[in-house]
Amino acid sequence: MKNPYRSIEAEVLKVTTETPSIKTFLLKPKEELTFKPGQFMEFSVPGAGEAPFTPSSDSEIKETMEITIVKVGKVTDAIHELKPGDTVGLRGPLGKGYPLTKFIGQDILIIGGGVGLAPVRTLMYGLFHMRDQFSRLVYRGGCRDPEEFLFRKELEGWMKRDDIDMRFTVDQGDDSWNGPVGVVTTIMDDIDVNFKRVKAIVCGPPIMMKFATFKLQELGVRDRNIYLSMEKNMSCGFGKCGHCRIGPYYCCKDGPVFTYDMIRDFPGIWE
């Protein structure tokens, strides 16, 4: 019998400060540990506790994984203290992730916001690996300010590709920013996809996901084609501890990616 509560030991190889409150940790698990885009890991600092995070690195890279973490509470405070050489625990992969094979042949529209750009990065790598199997690929991203823009250099590199339509906006600009200013829904009117069939993926803070979902509906995207990365209090990660229930589902086991038609009728989904 397997012990589902046990973490695998991993070494912190590198810590990158992305913004004053966001760091990316490059980790090397001591045992084989792979994941699919959209799946998550329970990341623990020995003694300080566990919290769920979606990796931000390319899932095809098997030896290491990156996780990008915003400092918001007890566990993430401890995580932000980590230095190269430190030992951490990883438990997973958990959840279902994005059904990429269902996306084949379709237009793909990604709406990312804030720290949600981190898991979207994993998804983007996954999509790029099988780029010729999708039709149009559109990415709209938003952040509070240019400082909060994760992986900005990498994103600017992707913007030069001719097989993707990418645009970004910030709620508040500064001298370094010459792009659009406004919330992400303000740059969703020029999207050229087949809205009746497009697979729309939304990942970001709850408030942004809510308004992006409403905007997508307005544009004619079907609820069953809106894929939301839900954030709930996930403790065990496999549908037993009870914390992350949404209606008849557990966010951890049945998600964390849900189509909007699955969860739209349940209260508190945006909180």
Partner: protein, 338 residues
């Protein structure tokens, strides 16, 4: 059908102590509570109704170390539990707990081990508690499954029924302790069962609990009702209803470092507590007490019927007995009637 004298049951339990941790009900106030059977102890009491403590306590411990350092070991290696005198409502609780904890990929190892290796010697109810309402949930006050052997109290002893291969083996290997039951004894248990059943039903009827098969629909219909706010007014968020419930299974994982060792504990949690569903970023889908109160009913009377076709309540009435705010689950259900 077989009969076992109380003195012979004492002997049987004594012999089981070699292979099991034998837990017996002992008189506590006006009921019974479970504790370990010591050497030559005979001071147990097959209670008239369910014990104060729920059966889950022996399978899914209130606090248990589930992982140490990064070792893959399964930690609990003590003898499996043998529970004596378990009642039907508690056994029905296994329908929920097994569904939650037993699975191939992420099964809870210590729960599964205790369920597989444990022994259950159940018993018919011979009385009706103040808060009992099992029959309103469709459960009879005598065990019909999930036991290895069942005891039906009669004069000087018990009629014994076997419910599993393990139970058959146990009877087979202790043949000398049993004799054939007599017709009057068999009659006596039928008599007791029907008396207790009609008494629970009579009491439940007085509370006007809606029919069991309508509860799921009622929760859906009344989802936005003001009843939740009103009914939860006396709740003090102590979580007693959760800890005492034979089907409440929620837990939290808690890490600690002691003596240079990393330990992960699985601890009972309560969905009535404010931060139960709160995420680190601060969002809380059930920020208000009445939402958490409603959630508890939704989980039992809507979620489990939806995903498992079973009601997540066994009518044991412990939550009502334990509530310092005197919230009566039967009365809340009655108020929700449509």
């Amino acid at each position: 059908m077989l009969f076992i004298k109380r003195g012979n049951l004492d002997q049987l339990l004594e012999s089981l102590r070699g292979d099991y941790r034998v837990y017996v009900p002992r008189t506590m106030g006006d009921g019974t509570g479970y504790s370990l059977l010591g050497e030559s102890d005979t001071d147990y009491e097959i209670g008239a109704i369910r014990s104060f403590d729920p059966l889950k306590s022996f399978y899914f411990l209130g606090r248990e170390k589930v992982a140490e350092d990064f070792k893959p070991d399964i930690l609990r290696d003590d003898k499996p539990p043998c529970i004596v005198g378990a009642k039907a409502c508690d056994l029905k609780g296994f329908k929920i707990l097994d569904f939650v904890f037993i699975d191939d990929e992420f099964g809870d190892p210590t729960y599964m081990k205790a369920r597989k290796e444990g022994l259950i010697i159940s018993a018919d109810c011979t009385g009706v508690g103040e808060t009992c309402f099992c029959t309103a949930i469709g459960i009879d006050p005598w065990p019909d499954s999930e036991y290895d052997i069942n005891l039906s109290p009669v004069d000087d002893g018990f009629i014994v029924t076997t419910g599993s291969d393990k139970g058959l083996d146990l009877v087979e290997s202790n043949k000398n302790l049993f004799v054939e039951a007599t017709d009057p004894q068999k009659k006596a248990i039928d008599q007791n069962r029907s008396t207790v059943q009609s008494e629970v039903t009579r009491k439940a009827k007085k509370k006007r609990i809606p029919a069991a098969d309508r509860l799921k629909r009622i929760i859906e219909k009344q989802y936005e009702s003001d009843i939740w706010k009103d009914a939860s007014e006396d709740c003090v968020e102590c979580g007693a209803c959760n800890t005492i419930c034979p089907t409440c299974h929620c837990y939290l994982l808690y890490d600690q470092k002691a003596n240079g060792k990393l330990a992960r504990f699985r601890i009972w949690d309560s969905c009535m507590i404010h931060d139960f569903a709160r995420v680190a970023g601060g969002e809380n889908p059930r920020d208000r007490l009445w939402m958490r109160f409603r959630n508890r009913f939704e989980k039992k009377f809507n979620f489990f019927p939806e995903v498992l076709n079973e009601i997540g309540c066994t009518g044991c009435g412990r939550c009502t007995a334990a509530c310092p705010g005197k919230i009566d689950i039967r009365e809340v259900l009655a108020r929700l009637e449509i």
